[in-house]
Assembly symmetry: none
Homo-oligomer: 228 residues x 4
Amino acid sequence: MARQSKQIAASKLPRARRGAAGSPDDAPASRAERAAERRAAIVEAALDEFIARGFTATRLDDVARRAGVAKGTIYLHFKDKETLFEELVRTAIVPLIGGLTTLPPPTGSVREALEAFADNFIQEVATTRRGDIIRLIVAEGPRFPAIADFYYREVVSRGLAAMRVLIELGIERGEVRAAALADFPQIVVAPAIIAVIWKSLFDRHAPLDTHALLRVHLDLIFGERSAA
Amino acid sequence: MARQSKQIAASKLPRARRGAAGSPDDAPASRAERAAERRAAIVEAALDEFIARGFTATRLDDVARRAGVAKGTIYLHFKDKETLFEELVRTAIVPLIGGLTTLPPPTGSVREALEAFADNFIQEVATTRRGDIIRLIVAEGPRFPAIADFYYREVVSRGLAAMRVLIELGIERGEVRAAALADFPQIVVAPAIIAVIWKSLFDRHAPLDTHALLRVHLDLIFGERSAA
Amino acid sequence: MARQSKQIAASKLPRARRGAAGSPDDAPASRAERAAERRAAIVEAALDEFIARGFTATRLDDVARRAGVAKGTIYLHFKDKETLFEELVRTAIVPLIGGLTTLPPPTGSVREALEAFADNFIQEVATTRRGDIIRLIVAEGPRFPAIADFYYREVVSRGLAAMRVLIELGIERGEVRAAALADFPQIVVAPAIIAVIWKSLFDRHAPLDTHALLRVHLDLIFGERSAA
Amino acid sequence: MARQSKQIAASKLPRARRGAAGSPDDAPASRAERAAERRAAIVEAALDEFIARGFTATRLDDVARRAGVAKGTIYLHFKDKETLFEELVRTAIVPLIGGLTTLPPPTGSVREALEAFADNFIQEVATTRRGDIIRLIVAEGPRFPAIADFYYREVVSRGLAAMRVLIELGIERGEVRAAALADFPQIVVAPAIIAVIWKSLFDRHAPLDTHALLRVHLDLIFGERSAA
DNA sequence: TATGAATGAGTGTTCATTCAT
DNA sequence: TATGAATGAACACTCATTCAT
C-alpha cells in the first residue's frame, strides 16, 4: 500500500568528485563507469526478478526498485522489457560457455575430467543462480525462440560437442564401454540438468544429494571404482 | 493474435438419451452433457494457451475464443484464472499416475519392463501435449507451489518409488550391476525428461531420436544386448 | 465459491394439483395466483436488496436467490432492473399515502391527531422497512427523477397539504400559536424524517428514543402539557 | 455521457518559486505543486461524480475525464475507488467541523447565535456542494460504516453537543422555554437537514425558501419576535 | 410459465513506456 | 544522464439481459 522505501544503492556513487579533477585512475568512477555500474545493477536485479517470476509476471517497477534506480533509467540502457530479458539471459549464459569448451585433459583420466566437471557444475551452476537460468530458459524458451537459439548455439551444441569428444576419448582409452554413448552425450548431462530442476521444484519435499547422484551416474558410465 | 478458428467442441456424443418422445436418439444432448462439453472445450483450449504462453501471458479472451465460448462462460466453470490453471494441470497430470504405479512385471525381465515403459513414454508423453505439461510445470512450479506439490506427490514420488522397486528387482536378479542406482532412480528417468525438454526447445535445431536415446541409456544400465 | 443452495420457497407451490381439477376456490392457487405470489416474492426480495445496497450495487442474482426464483423469472415480471426498481418503490410508497390523506379529525384536538400520527409513524414507518425506503429515495432520487417526482406528487405534496390543513385547524382553534407554521409544514415533519435517517446511520452509536423526540417536538409546537 | 470539457486544472498558482534564473516568477509550478493540483482536480471531479451518481455507479473513467487526467493517474494518488471515496468524503467533512465547535456566543443572545448559525449554514452548506455531501452520506452510509462512523464522531456528535450547550444557555437565560429541547438537539437541526434534502430532491417541484423556513423554526423555539 | 446457462459489454486495476524537468 | 509522474492500452472479472429447453 505505502510506497516502499527506495534502496540506497545509488547514493554511494561519488558526488563531490569535481573537486578532485585530474585523478582519473582511482576510486571515483567516471561517468562511463557509473553508467556501467547502473547497468550492472539493473541486470542483476532483473535477473533475480525474471528467475523468480518469469518474463511476463516480472514488473519493471520491481526491477528498478531492486536495482536502486528509477524506472525510466532502465530505458536508458535497454530498449524495452523484451530486449532487457534477451540481453540479460545472453549475458548470463556466456560464462557457461568457457567451462564447456575448455576441457580436453591430456594428462588425467576421462573419469577424472568428468568428476572435475561435475564438481565444478555443482559449485558454479547447481548451487548458484545459473541453475535457475537453465530453468528460466526451459520456461521461456518457446516464447523467446531467439534465446533458445542462442542457448542452443552457444551452450548446448558446444557443450555436447565437447562432451562427445571426451566420451570418444574415454572409449578410445577403454574407460568407457558403451560406445553408443558418443551418439547421445545428452545422457551424460541429463542427471545434472535434472538435479538443477529438482532443486527448484522438489528440494523442499525431498532434498537431493547432487554430488552423490552424479557420482553414481559416473559409476554407471565408467563402472564402479574401488575407492571414491 | 489472429482470430483462431472455432473448436469442434459442439459435435460430441448425445449419450444415453432418455426415451423422450420425438428425439430420435441423436442431436440434442442434454443440458448437462453440453455443459460438460463446454467445460472440456475450455480445458482443452486453456491447456493449449497455457502451454504456448505460460500462465501470466495467457489471456482468457484467447482461451474463450479458442474454446468457442464467451468469456463469461469460463467463469461458470472456474472461479478464476488461477483455479482454471491449477485444475487444468491437475487434470492433465492424473492420467500419468496410472501408468506409473502399474508396472511390476511378474513375467518378463526388468529390462523388458523398462523398454515397454520407455516406448509407452514416447508414445503417450514425449510425442503428445503431456510432454509440454511437464515443461509447463517446470516453468510455473515455483509460482504455483500447490502444483509442484501435487505433481511431486502424485507423479514424481510414486513414479520414483515404482522405479526403485523395479531397479531393486533388477539388482536382485542380476540384471542391473550398479547397486547404488536404487538410491537414485532419477538417473533412470533423467534422459526421458531431457528428451521432452529437448523436443520443445531444440528439436528444430537438432531433432532427437528419443527411441534410440532411451535404448542407449538402457544399454548403459543393463549392459549392451546382443540383438536390439 | 461453491454455489449456494437454492431456497426452497418455490417448492411449496401445489404440484400434483391436476388430480383435483374443478375445485377452483380453495387453497391451491391458480396459475395467476402463483404468478402473483412469485411477483410478490421478487418485489419483497428486491426491496431488501435495494435498501441494503442501493440500486446500482444490487445484483439481480441476489434478488432471484433471495426470492427463491430463477434469474430469468424476474424478467417475466419486470422489463429490466430499472423498471423493477421504479415499480418497487412506487409499490412501497403507495401505502404511505392512505395514512396521510385520511386525517382531518373533527372530534379530538389537533394535538391528539398529531400524536396519533406520530405514534402511527413510529409503528408503521420508523420501525419498519418503510423507513428505509425513505432513505432509499433520498439516496437514489437524483438518479431516478421519475421516482422523486412520484414520491413528491403522491406522498410529499399530499402529506404536507394535509399537514397544513391540520396546522391551520390548530391555529384556528388556538392550539397552535405560531401562525407561520402553516407556511412550512416541513418543520412539523422534519424530526420524524431525521429520526428515520438517524436509525439507519447512527443508532448503533447513540440509540434514539423516537417517541420521546416526537413528543418534545409536539410540545414545542403546542406548548408543554401538564401530563403526557 | 457526452465527452465533458477538460478542466482548467493546469492554470493555478506557481507559488514561491525559488529564484531560479530565467523563471520570471510565473508559469512553471514545481513538480510537487502540479501533483497537488492534479490531486485536487481528481478530488474535485470525483466529488461531483459521486454526488451525481453515488459510489457504485460512478465510473473512474468519468472522474479521470472530468479531472483532465488519465485513468491511471488516479491510482498514483489513491489506492482504489473505495479509498478515493472515503478520503474524499472525509476531506469534505472536515471543514464542517470548525464551524460547529466554534459557537459559544459570550455577547449576543442565543437566538442571535442560532440565526447566525442558520445564515452561515445556508451560505456554506445548503447552497453549496457540501449539502450534497450530506445527502451522499445518507445514501452511502450503510455501505460505508467507516464513513458513517467518522461523520458521527466528527460532525454529528460534536455539532449536537455544541447545540445542546447553546440550548442550555438559552434555557438558563430564559430565551428558550422548552427545557426538554436540551435532550433532543436534533429537533433544532432537523429543518436545516430537511432543507438540504429538499433542495436536491424536490426544489424543482416546489422551491423552498430555506431562510424563511429556518426563521419560522427559530420563532417556534424562541417565540415570535417583534421585528425580523 | 420457469429455468439457468450463456453472453458480451462494461469497469476497476495494472504496468510497460514516455517525457518534461 | 536520471528521474518518476503521467499515460492509456490491456486484461481479469462482473452482471444485466437473453433464449433454448
